[in-house]
Subunit: 331 residues, 2 copies
């Protein structure tokens, strides 16, 4: 269900801010809430209000809100920051330039000036691109095993992928599923030996190797997945009620690179403990971030916490300047 | 308002768990939610269900729940984990011993056996110990400037303390308060020079040095604070509507030490990116933790996120063993 609160007019070009938040998902909206409470003049610019939540089904791991629908949770976040009158602009940031302050240019043509920038642009789960995948998304097809595993209690499922995340997902699914197919297009996994050993020795996991998913189908929700065994050239239909696709995710690398941000090998923004990046005055939060200081676990709760910390760091930067190393800026 | 949901019977002594969670505040309850969803057999043991939330007034910085009362938020968390049938036991853990697994002994005498332990025991804000302090707690007296600053919009306030947290609090209060007294018992601050310079040069901040708070008073909420100027031996009454006490906080050091946990110089448990501690199989989350991998910002959102990450780490420990270094256990 799409929703829309009344949008404020876009601030006029040339408007000045303490912080411009790029991205309107959980991380960006939490950053806005905290920034506003810390007295920063803030604005959110996002392409999709709600970010990844707009595509989520039931979210039951945001403590305190039992079984809320993704878009409804996004709406609650939005209402919360509207209380603090933070403008939310639906547009795309095309360019961020650093001078004595930051100049942020929107696709719509406006340019804003800001002392700090908080990057919370998220990442997109990679898709298989097969028939039925989009149709059954949230109806048995999921891209996040830890988020949705409990929904598949007692149901046969298939996990697609061959890396660490896929193998971890298969192992997690065995907690709920009586049988888990692990479908991988190669005949070897690219994962840590401990995971490979575990999935190979678990009788609840059936390996389907050299296999390509061709289509996902069912009536109201997923009932089967068709796979092509490439080594023998035959197609099989597996009866499953869930397809967990774990073939990686992609932050918007090109945009992040264009800002001059330091990225890790997968394209995530490398952040420190205060969500600081390699650029003075730029902070990042949520799914688009990674690095040695955080264990990557892309959840609504972790995005929201990182948004809060990024806002605090931006507040300190605006009020105290950049003279102190991060470890000395601790409450 | 105290609340009580029906408590389950305590599991019998000798019961075995995948994870025992010590502490029933936001971090512990979030850890329980995630542990349950990850299929771990879990239990929470806490002295106060809700932890620091039980003493909080309005919480308006938990995104999605606008202006919720602290105890009500605690109740929502509790209801959420009861959905997953995690037992919550109201008792005190007196001892944790490590053998091939952990033996957790309660004050009530029961002993539980667990593969992992998640420590989420929180920390207590230090109190002044003066008349009126408890009476007006949540009615103008607060121990967390970033949490409550917006409540004091347009109101004269006093910040008590002389360290970094107090000076940061005074600077933050100037966003909302037309005038901020900064009351400190010494005549010099123990804080970073940048903070000292800022508070000394801010015309909205009036320093009240060599001064001891004697009592806090008012009718329904705070109206004044009495301070004794020790250098001149005179007592003054300052008209304020808020008293922000920032004189540090204390985790339960003795208990943490008895577990063999590595603590920092202030007594907080040092954690890594996965909330792991120096003890294999023991994870920690929330206000009782610190360390170089986190920026310490004790908020409900950060506690909840750390609880989730701790649960994931415990899940990995239980299912995969301890063979992999933390940085290789990333989703």
């Amino acid at each position: 269900m799409p929703f829309r609160l009344s949008m404020p007019r876009k601030p006029p070009t040339g408007s000045e801010f303490d912080t411009v938040i790029i991205g309107a998902g959980p991380a960006g909206m939490s950053a806005a809430l905290y920034a506003a409470r810390l007295g920063l003049k803030s604005i959110i610019i996002g392409e999709e209000i709600g970010g990844a939540l707009t595509e989520a089904g039931e979210v039951d791991d945001y403590p305190g809100l039992i079984g809320v629908q993704g878009p409804d949770l996004a709406k609650k976040f939005e209402q919360h920051i509207r209380k603090y009158r933070v403008p939310i602009v639906r547009d795309k940031v095309v360019r961020v330039e650093k001078g004595s302050s930051f100049k942020v240019t929107l696709m719509g043509g406006e340019t804003y000036v800001s002392k700090t920038v908080i990057v919370a642009v998220g990442s997109r789960r990679r898709k298989l691109g097969v028939p039925g995948e989009n149709e059954f998304s949230g109806k048995g097809v999921t891209y996040c095993a830890p988020c949705d595993a409990p929904l598949f209690k007692g149901k046969v499922t298939a996990v697609v992928g061959g890396g660490n995340a896929a193998l971890q997902a298969a192992l997690l699914m065995t907690v709920y599923s009586p049988k888990v197919y692990l479908i991988h297009r190669r005949d070897e996994f690219r994962a840590f030996p401990v995971y490979i050993k575990k999935v190979r020795s678990d009788p609840r996991i059936e390996l389907v190797l050299n296999a390509e998913v061709r289509r996902i189908g069912g009536s109201k929700s997923v009932e089967w997945v068709d796979v092509l065994r490439k080594d023998i050239g035959e197609e099989f239909r597996l009866s499953v009620e869930g397809v967990i696709i774990e073939i990686g995710s992609e932050p918007p690398k090109d945009f992040l690179k264009s800002m001059g941000l330091r990225l890790d090998e997968k394209g995530y923004v490398v952040v420190g403990p205060g969500q600081e990046t390699n650029i003075d005055g730029v902070f990042a939060a949520g799914d688009c971030t990674a690095g040695p200081h955080k264990k990557k676990f892309d959840q609504v709760v972790t995005a929201v916490a990182e948004g809060a910390v990024a806002a605090l760091s931006a507040y300190e930067y605006v009020t105290l300047g950049k003279g102190l190393p991060a470890e000395e800026l601790q409450y």
